[in-house]
Subunit: 388 residues, 4 copies
């Protein structure tokens, strides 16, 4: 009998992790963007790659788009293309960090014209959402300042709130606004939404369909991220995750690669707080595959989330609670760690096979010939990256 | 003519910084508490020392008490003692970190008896406030956990909210509850109020007289503290400062000693946000003088705050705003730094003398003979420290 | 057949982890030292507790002593006591952080008298080593400064070198000097041996029997510790480990508790660099059990090291090297993580049983009645802590 | 009479800070490289801009080149161009981070061909040095790995040593090799030269003309950089500084902008250790002016170094040493801070004027019309950046 109970299997079966279209394009650092053969040239090819991840894992039913990187003439056609490949179009991500006008700010800019332009970009993103059927508008703001004294941080907060309100009011139906926060980069002194508190304080003034996005790589060193997960779930404001991992700054490495135990703790709090398979809490990746193969990198990532979810579900909750209530520190820790150290991989492989999926998705992809095919076919054109 | 305008002088004249009674007692690290001659043996002697700081600086009109360290039979007598020496009794600080019952929590403890005991301690602190005429009850919670899995962080938040509500409801008149946050220590995995967001989310549910206390040493490495100052002022929830400085963790060094420019930036945001000489925003020190002389350490500290306030007030605001609006990064920075680099010390010395205060408070204290007097008189008894 | 090959079993069989006598005494933070029933009152009782850890794990053949905390009239008697219980006396740790004379330094002090006193203390420690048969003198220096400008860091380095040389020259036979480094605490601005580079530069001038001690909790946030392990092994200067774990500062938590994957990576480099079961590289714990049970805390700790060593030994090295040579990032990572995620616990339990040890040492200890016995017997007297 | 004594003036007169040619080109983050009007198109224009910084400050007598970004057909012509404008060509910086071959390493690469190619690039840089008359070859290595297990860190150290030796042996006369270290970026798990200890251990094996380069932005959070300055000077291995400042990672902001007091402390240790105006210790900038004006950014930077050097020279050393020897913590700190808080700017302005330099270099540049001229003239072509 599997170590994965029917209940656990049921919960795992409900799990879906959204892939970022940009993970299939080239990325890098300020020093260099390395290229790889077979990289997509347009959004249609990105979605084809994403669908391949879903095909071998059953874990990635939707793809997030980034506007304007993924702008196409006919979003309806893109949507049908995705559906034909078995995936949906997901969250729409806006971009206010690459237009010369936004050098000193976008939604916070002092100049009404530029701020309005930035707001209008978001309204355009909502138009895209209407066409793609996407629910979420995700806003990550690159704005801030590099030097103390450069700008008036306080006035920017007020302008930000005003801009967000205008955008929020344009949403219809079950559409949501999800506001990401980030500690630093590309701004080096202050960012306008640096921490969960700021994102929370901003979205709390907007309404029920404004939520916080937690990117696991966007915190100061040593921050207890699972505490924030717990708190946002408690406050009813955790809208989505951007999963990745990091050793230093916003490294955007494969989720679970840098600190697997941290991912475990995060998922424990997600489960504890009712965030698993809760439609209000979207799971997404936001990663860069600078030097590793991109499609396998995404496969590895969703598997990491799945495996760690399984481990977190394995916790013997009654035993844990008993030990916690008894203040039995080592006893509680033992229950907790027992789940983490359990090797769920064989059981997951078996379970995948039972559902008609490859037991080893990495091997299945390698054996599929897809990589060779795209390397052969995608010759010429401009490889997609952060500029297109 | 002084570089300090009449307006600046007026603002400086209104400044008062509360001293912590415990700064006059011995303190140290887990490795060693060093002793010094002349250390007070009781609250009356601590207040006498604090009054000496005020005598030579005119900057320290009140003294915060810590319960039970400063518990006396007759708080009315202590209040008269303080008033006779020209100072007031200020904020009352509770202590839930030294009783065996609190090993695993106090206001968050799962055991109703212990949680009630911790709440009752705070009610007793409010009784003390009634007797001393203090306005603020400051709560810093040492509770948390050392190991992942040890405890249920989510349930603790809910219990914390319940405990705080009971305490808050006992307040009368203009009394306030001020909730401090701290990143880590003495708990090493999670603390129950780790960041400003948690403190804000908690006090926001209580009412208008529940505020956040910002201790400048309680943040993750690299945190932009002045941004938090700005945000809390914007949200109307900055109740008080615990000033100190740090290089690494909660070092509790003299304010302004580790990063003077950070203190400048904090005070700039205080002024920008209307927090200077605003009765809603209390200025306090929370420091340890582990190896340096205590009374001079406190004198140096309040002078550091005063000098940096003067520098922050010197900013040519119209010029700064013009440069900011023009996105003239270097121009704005130049205006900002010009104030920081201006040597305000001679003008402050002159201004102090004009108000009947020593121009050089450190020298005045050294010449006063007070230190020699207390070293001679305070022989025998037990020196005050963190345990008494 | 066990997943642990005969070769792996052989390597595991050779593993020994030295326990710190002080882990059995009370410890805490500057805020509070909690007490526990059954805590030893003297070095004999500490050694009895340490022997109990060894009895149930077979992993802890020696006990490090701390002078003066473990000073006894007759070290020969203490040695026989240990041997009777099946353990040896190990590393001698000096202490220059609790005498009033050392408030501003010991081996670096400007005052010749105090510096000489600190050197003499180390010579006395070597006398103890002669009596106990210990090989290593471990020096951790608490000295440094709290404020910029307080002291002349450069002159202190030179005096430190001079002091260390005098101590080193007193060593005989195979005795060694091992110099620990620490980033901060109890000093808050500078420490005299803050990083591996300084420790290395100092011991390199002394001779072959002067080595570096790497305490896993003594680094700046984000430091790649396994890189240092690799480098010190490469330079032939890794003398010993102080194992523990941390989330923030020098938390001294149970090894492997905060970041199990980091412990794995460290042990991988130990094996790669020839440091496993290499007599030149001592494995020790240096932990505090502030709130958890002490003897089980030590049992858990040595088991964590053993389990993680087993995982590290499981790496398919030829496959790893092949993937590395092919720059197959994900392939190499897969081999690496496969070992980490393998559950070695059942095989280790079986292997322990095959060697006449309890398969579950934690359960064996709990069932032994030892804890109840010491709680009943150790009544009265003063519990051991960091002062005694 | 000036607060700057004749001796201080003499020391200031000897100060020269090398400018990086690349500071005049465009730079940015992975998110965006903003452009500015008037940006140079080739090395000749970069040097013209650098010479302008020297013209108004008298502080920037040389310009560092980056190969291949500054590769020209005739380095003799470039040298004459520089000399005609009153500046010299300085340090030659190699680049092994932008060629596809170097994706997985250069001087450490396992593939002999690639490693040899990287070595050859450095030999070519030495050829350039011969042509430009440069003394220093500065090596910053971007290499490392992004994932644990990806590579064999130990073998890379050995290959690095081998590569460096080959390069070192090609140096002639007074030419030097200076090895920079960096904590992270662009590699996100390990870098091959992460810390001063590694750089020191590597260059120590090469010979007297191999030194360490300390970039002030390349350390883990909280690192005491001035301690490293002290230690490298003590060991005779501090070859050069790359000055800049940072709040978070390698932000490459204007030196002194993020933490002026840290720059002060660094310069105090430079002076203490005999590093000021010591030809063995080169002062350079390594900065990015992502959003601020570039030439004024460089002027501001060299002025910051000059002003802070003046402050550091103002320390009353006998008084400081007396207070230090007496362990008068607050007294020593007072002497130290007195120098920091002294406003040296008026005296420096006067002194500059006395030497025929503009008293206000920023204003002089603004008034010179140079910026308008280059914006008008430099139309068309490709603006220089990190790629050219």
């Amino acid at each position: 009998m599997s170590i994965l109970s029917a209940d656990i299997q049921s919960q795992l079966a409900g799990q879906g992790i959204e892939l970022p279209s940009w993970a299939f394009g080239n990325s890098g650092t300020r020093f260099r963007v390395w290229t790889t053969e077979g990289t997509p040239r347009d959004p249609f090819e990105k979605i084809a790659d994403a669908a391949e991840v879903n095909r071998v894992t059953g874990l990635a039913p939707s793809v997030a788009l980034h506007i304007p990187w993924d702008k196409v003439d006919d979003f309806g056609a893109l949507r049908r293309h995705a559906e034909d490949l078995g995936v949906a179009l997901g969250t729409i991500n806006s971009n206010t960090f690459q237009d010369e006008d936004y050098k000193f700010g976008a939604l916070t800019h002092e100049d009404d014209r530029i701020r309005r332009k930035a707001v209008d970009h978001h309204l355009e993103c909502i138009d895209v959402m209407d066409a793609t059927g996407s629910r979420d508008l995700k806003i990550w703001l690159a704005e801030g300042s590099n030097y103390p004294g450069q700008t008036d941080m306080r006035a920017r907060q007020d302008r930000l709130n005003d801009s967000l309100r205008t955008i929020y009011e344009r949403l219809t139906g079950d559409q949501r606004l999800v506001l990401e926060y980030k500690f630093f980069e590309p701004s080096f002194y202050h960012t306008d939404v640096p921490d969960w508190g700021t994102s929370y304080a901003q979205v709390a003034t907007l309404g029920d369909r404004a939520m916080v996005c937690l990117d696991t790589g966007h915190h100061a060193p040593g921050t207890n991220i699972e505490f924030i997960v717990m708190q946002l779930l408690r406050l009813g404001k955790l809208g989505s995750f951007d999963f990745n991992s990091r050793f230093y700054a916003d490294d955007d490495l494969i989720v679970g690669a840098a600190d697997p135990f941290q991912l475990f703790r995060i998922l424990v709090e997600v489960i504890r707080g009712g965030g698993l398979n809760n439609p209000d809490v979207a799971f997404m990746l936001d990663q860069c595959h600078n030097i590793e193969a991109k499609i396998p990198g995404q496969i590895r990532s969703v598997l990491n989330v799945q495996e760690m979810t399984a481990r977190a579900l394995l916790i013997d909750q009654p035993a844990l609670q008993a030990a916690q209530s008894a203040n039995d520190v080592l006893g509680a820790q033992a229950v907790f760690m027992d789940a983490f150290y359990t090797d769920v991989r064989p059981a997951l492989a078996e379970w995948r096979a039972s559902r008609g999926l490859p037991d080893d998705p990495m091997a299945a992809y390698a054996a599929s010939g897809y990589q060779q095919k795209i390397e052969a076919e995608r010759v010429g054109g401009t490889q997609a990256g952060w500029g297109a």
